[in-house]
Amino acid sequence: MATAGGGSVADPGSRSLLRLLSFCVLLAGLCEGNSVERKIYIPLNKTAPCVRLLNATHQIGCQSSISGDTGVIHVVEKKEDLQWVLTDGPNPPYVVLLEGTLFTRDVMEKLKGRSGRIAGLAVSLAKPSPASGFSPSVQCPNDGFGIYSDSYGSQFAHCKAFQWNKVGDGLAYEDFSFPIFLLEDENETNVIKQCYRDHNLSPNGSAPAFPLCAMQLFSHMHAVVSTVTCMRRNLIQSSFTISPEVVCDPLSDFNVWSMLKPINTSRTLEPDDRVVVAATRLDSRSFFWNVAPGAESAVASFITQLAAAEALQKAPDVATLPRNVMFVFFQGETFDYIGSSRMVYDMEKGSFPVQLENIDSFVELGQVALRNSLELWMHTDPMSQKNETVLNQVEALLSTLEQSSAAVPTVVLRRLNQSQPLPPSSLQRFLRARNVSGVVLADHSDSFHNLYYQSIYDTAESINVTYPAGQSPEEDLNFVTDTAKALAGVATVLARTLYQLAGGASFRDTIQADPHTVTRLLYGFLVRANNSWFQSILRPDLRSYLGDGPLQHYIAVSSPTNATYVVQYALANLTGKVLDLTREQCQNPSQVPTENKDLYEYTWVQGPLNANETDRLPRCVRSTARLARALSPAFELEQWGSTEYSTWTESRWKDIRARIFLIASKELEFITLIVGFGILVFSLIVTYCINAKADVLFITPREPGSVSY
């Protein structure tokens, strides 16, 4: 009877009750940012963490404990302040708020040595960038994955002659046991410093009084030891559990490539079809996750190549050139040549339409934005030139370059006068497979001119892309900076060289790269991605990929990244043709008899705003710009300990955040606990005593007639 009574709730009533319940659950969820929590914590929203990356043998990066690391804040503005943290301070552990200029190797070595007293590190961005340079990358980038090894070109291996990245301190490749965060917003840094001044300072170096200002950093990483271990754990998880807990992901994305003349991508080229390859890299990195402005290390180079592709496409006799030209933008070159090693692997296996034997010559753009007195250096590989044929081909290549630059006054090409190794470049991976004749164009003759190679300071300012104050974003977009003109000069040289290498002759001197294109690309990639031009070249569903700041060029694990999409669509816009097709025809071009899906790629893009600025005029763009998978062959072949291919993976994590609050002394907490216990015991005793004597204490009146209740 009870169950029947309990179960017979009226059905419509229960449904409305359920709706009320879910509404209130939603409300309660919204109330989770309740005001007591707001009284205690100040969350830090504009931070970037340092995450764990793993390769075949090591783990690099930072780790926090699973419930966050809490420490008393200490602001270190000069080296002497470190003593408090390392030895003198009475309330370890500390979270150090470090000035950006002090984020150097010796400070980090000291902090690493006393990691019992350090709970975490927060680095504030140095404004202006450190004058003497800052590069957390190693001095010999991508060592061991290029062509020079102990068995081949050993005099060039491991940068024995000179270090490419002189300023590099290798911090980004160290393993830290405490979390490190970057404070990107100056306002938040000031809030933290104010809290420190209010609570943590004490006169004469004595112990400061509680409550103290503290910071908690959460960045617990799931993967450990190396890629071999974490991929093995992934495999076990996915084989044996229904909902696997993957601990790490390989770094992967897409390479962007296009052909000057369209080719049938459903099959490989004939061996007689010769292709001239123009290559550059798309990505960079920094110490912190997803912060990779990469202005000089990557962006300037691929913008130059985009401008060269546009200039070359405009040549009148493109369709009749004897050889084809392939423009390729490699992703993941920062992490031991992920993109180029994958492309070489695909070419060898025949999964890519162009094969290694089709490659006629190879021109790569290294870092080109910081030229001294207009000089652009041509780097070649000394080891492959020991072969007579290759030597002659390279000689022809260099003389073609010099002829092309003769009519460009803003670029002076220089040969290197002694045999030097190639700088870290994708050409090295191609040379590992086959002796192609190739050249790398760079602004440096020996060490990099880039003082901020792969760091957070490699921004627009480091390559002198600055705009006059007081202009609107649209005016900034179209303002031609000097850097844009210089890069346009390099792009003109590159385009003319490619034209001549492809067999063209008549129109060489009419090919000119457009500085307006270069400046718009520089503005979009380095200053503000959400501008009218970028919006007009993207697909409608990718609109939200453009933020109000610069694009970041870290390869990441989910693909394609925002930057890859933008480069692909920019290439499509600059080298493609607008067709008069409807949206349905554009998305299904096989229905249109004149169009061929194997030769071209068709995309429906947003287009520019119309005259009233209310709507967009979308259009169909046909181009040869495509994406090719850039996942290291080590993961295809499941050779996770490979020393031949890149094995970089990124750990997974659940929660990354930072917050500041006050902490009370341990004595006060203990007193609270004792008081609580005391009250509990006292009330138990009193209640017991009163209850035992209740009939004595609470006498009920025995008068007759009164209601005894």
């Binding site: 309990g6 409300l27 309660a28 309740n34 205690i40 004792i674």
Partner: protein, 234 residues
């Protein structure tokens, strides 16, 4: 502020209520049932008062500072009035129930009205304490303490003692209220109401929206619980 503060404040706020429960309520199952029903009545009273507050707030609309403050004062007033109304309603229910209890158990002594007054007051007090303090208590588990925006750092201790006081006050109000109802001395009810208003007017913000939401989440299961328990006894 960590586990020490969590347990310390929890014991301060709920220690006496726990002691009363262990020594006086747990021994008899009927007292437990009346306690839970009392708690349930308090929950329903808070639900109604917060619905009234919510509709008023929605009708008024815009959110400027003085209006927010008056709305809050109005909300507290309505909450106290409705709580006392439900206490009266519970008294009426218990009066009717005591007749039925005499029929069910003619051999056992029925609980006296004074005992029921005490149990109902304790029920109201425990539920009121839990609802006002559990949110704050859960925040005390984290590593931080109140104070970064300038609030007094003894926030947790103050709230714990306040909760303790309110719980015990509800017990006393229950006894006095039922006594006034039995002896038809209506000024006693006024005294209870006024003293309740006085205590609630102390600076302690009542977050009625959150409480409504959490309230309904508790309401559905705990609402069926005592009714089914009563049925089980039938």
């Amino acid at each position: 502020m960590t586990a020490a503060v969590f347990f310390g404040c929890a014991f301060i706020a709920f220690g006496p209520a726990l002691a009363l429960y262990i020594f006086t309520i747990v021994t008899e199952p009927l007292r437990i049932i009346f306690l839970i029903i009392g708690a349930f009545f308090w929950l329903v009273s808070l639900l109604f008062s917060s619905l009234i507050w919510f509709t008023t707030a929605t009708l008024i609309g815009n959110k400027d500072e003085p209006r927010e403050k008056y709305l809050l004062i109005f909300g507290v007033l309505i909450s106290v009035l409705v709580q006392e109304m439900f206490r009266f309603a519970y008294y009426k229910l218990l009066k009717r129930a005591s007749e039925g209890l005499k029929i069910i158990n003619p051999y056992e002594k029925a609980p006296s009205m004074r005992l029921l007054a005490y149990v109902s007051g304790l029920g109201f007090g425990i539920m009121s304490g839990v609802f006002s303090f559990v949110n704050t208590l859960s925040d005390s588990l984290g590593p931080g303490t109140v104070g970064i925006h300038g609030d007094p750092p003894q926030f947790f201790l103050n709230s714990a003692f306040m909760t303790l006081v309110i719980t015990l006050l509800h017990v006393f109000w229950g006894i006095v209220f039922f006594d006034g109802c039995e002896k038809k001395k209506w000024y006693t009810l006024l005294v209870v109401l006024l003293s309740h208003l006085l205590v609630s007017a102390l600076p302690r913000l009542v977050f009625l929206v959150c409480i409504t939401a959490k309230l309904v989440m508790f309401l559905v299961p705990s609402g069926f619980c005592p009714t089914t328990l009563l049925r089980l006894h039938v």
